[in-house]
């Protein structure tokens, strides 16, 4: 897929992975998330909690929303809070932060694409993880949603977090760029 790739992302910084379709942006993120095994090389986190691996300290926001249509918005979110070991006491606050506080008891199956994306973004807020791996995070979001998400990313960076985002559209934050080559 790709080779000879050497990069680093540091605390408080956004690394934007850019490149044409099929250049391996998603594969790179999944590799960092430990979902793909690299044929060679390694990815590591310096200064994190020593007992935990990099994937265990990362949030992964992929193309798929990881939502269950049969469960309500609140049930979906509280499951991920419990599963990810989050400590967010007030889920209503997290839902308000992504503009979904009016839909807490609606089954997730009734949400629009943009609302589903907002709900999966709320997942990033219920458990603290220093590294956020975002794959096309703003797809399906409206302008207000994109601004809202930019604010959340700024908060995360201000708190010393690391962001790695594969994107085609500028995210509104100063970023170091990692340019992936064309499909070969």
């Amino acid at each position: 897929m790709f080779s000879g790739l050497d990069f680093e992302a540091s605390s408080g910084n956004l690394l934007a992975v850019v490149g044409p379709n099929g250049s391996g942006k998603t594969s790179l993120l999944r590799l960092i998330a430990g979902l793909l095994v690299p044929a060679g090389g390694a990815v590591g986190l310096e200064g994190g909690e020593a007992e935990l691996t990099l994937p265990e300290q990362s949030h992964y926001l992929g193309h798929r929303d990881a939502l269950k249509p049969a469960l309500s918005v609140l049930e979906n979110l509280s499951f991920w809070r419990d599963f990810l070991g989050g400590t967010a006491g007030d889920l209503g606050q997290c839902l308000a932060a992504v503009g979904l506080s009016h839909a807490t008891h609606l089954p997730a199956g009734y949400l629009s694409a943009g609302q589903r994306r907002r709900l999966s973004i709320a997942r990033l807020l219920v458990a603290r993880r220093p590294v956020w791996l975002l794959d096309e995070p703003t797809s399906a979001l409206d302008t207000a949603g994109q601004e809202l998400f930019t604010g959340l990313m700024r908060d995360h960076l201000a708190g010393g977090g690391i962001l790695v985002a594969a994107t085609h559209t500028p995210l509104g934050i100063d970023a170091r760029e990692l340019r992936m080559g064309g499909a070969t």
């Binding site: 979902l35 992964y60 193309h63 798929r64 269950k68 599963f83």
Partner: protein, 222 residues
């Protein structure tokens, strides 16, 4: 532990909601057992003799029917990625999912057995023997089936492949399940021997299943 209990609660809740699939297995079990007397005919002695085998076969096929959704649903919506990344060990997460599946889809089969036993002319002793062997044997079906479900997770329409992979593993369970039930009914043979082997099969699958499924999930994700 919070993570695992959250996973179990979520899976059971989804299974019990509309379209969740917990009832599909029971309905299939019911259909097979209800149709059998019509196919075999009104020979009560024959029905009694075949009863335990029919119930076991129905339960085996019913549990196969629902197993293919065990990981596929989570894979399709991306939850499986997050479960693999999670801090809870994947082996335990697999065991939790299998346990939830057994509680939602396996236990109803056992509960339905006494009712279905009536249709097959089984008396109280025979029915309770079958129910007891199912109670001990169905966890083995779920936990070995989980290995197949994990192997077939990335395949679309992997249900048939799952059946082919899992059936050989479930044959011993079927043999000793039916043997123990027959022994309890006829009384010629000791009940303890096949029943102990059935328990052993279940215990082995409880240990081997989660490890095999987790290994397969780690390497099989695309």
């Amino acid at each position: 532990m919070t993570a695992l209990s959250a996973l179990i609660r979520r899976d059971i809740r989804i299974a019990l909601r509309v379209g969740g699939g917990a009832l599909i297995g029971v309905l299939f079990f019911l259909t097979v057992t209800v149709l059998m007397p019509f196919a075999i005919g009104p020979d009560l002695a024959l029905l009694t003799r075949l009863g335990p085998a029919i119930l076991w076969l129905g339960a085996l096929l019913a549990s196969l029917l629902t197993l293919d959704r065990l990981f596929t649903a989570d894979h399709e919506d991306g939850s499986l990625d997050l479960i693999v990344m999670g801090r809870a060990p994947l082996e335990l997460a697999c065991a939790a999912k299998a346990l939830a599946h057994w509680l939602a889809a396996g236990v109803p089969l056992i509960v339905a057995t006494p009712v279905l036993g009536l249709l097959l002319n089984l008396d109280a002793t025979a029915t309770s023997a079958v129910a007891l062997t199912l109670l001990v044997g169905t966890p083995a079906l779920t936990f070995t089936g989980m290995i197949g479900a994990a192997l077939a997770v990335t395949l679309h329409r992997g249900g048939l492949l799952l059946a082919v992979l899992v059936l050989p593993l479930s044959i011993p369970v079927l043999i000793f399940g039916v043997a123990a039930s027959q022994a309890a009914i006829s009384g010629d043979l000791p009940f303890g021997t096949p029943f102990s082997i059935l328990c052993a099969l279940s215990l082995v699958s409880l240990v081997v299943g989660p490890f095999a499924a987790a290994a397969s999930l780690r390497h099989g994700l695309d």
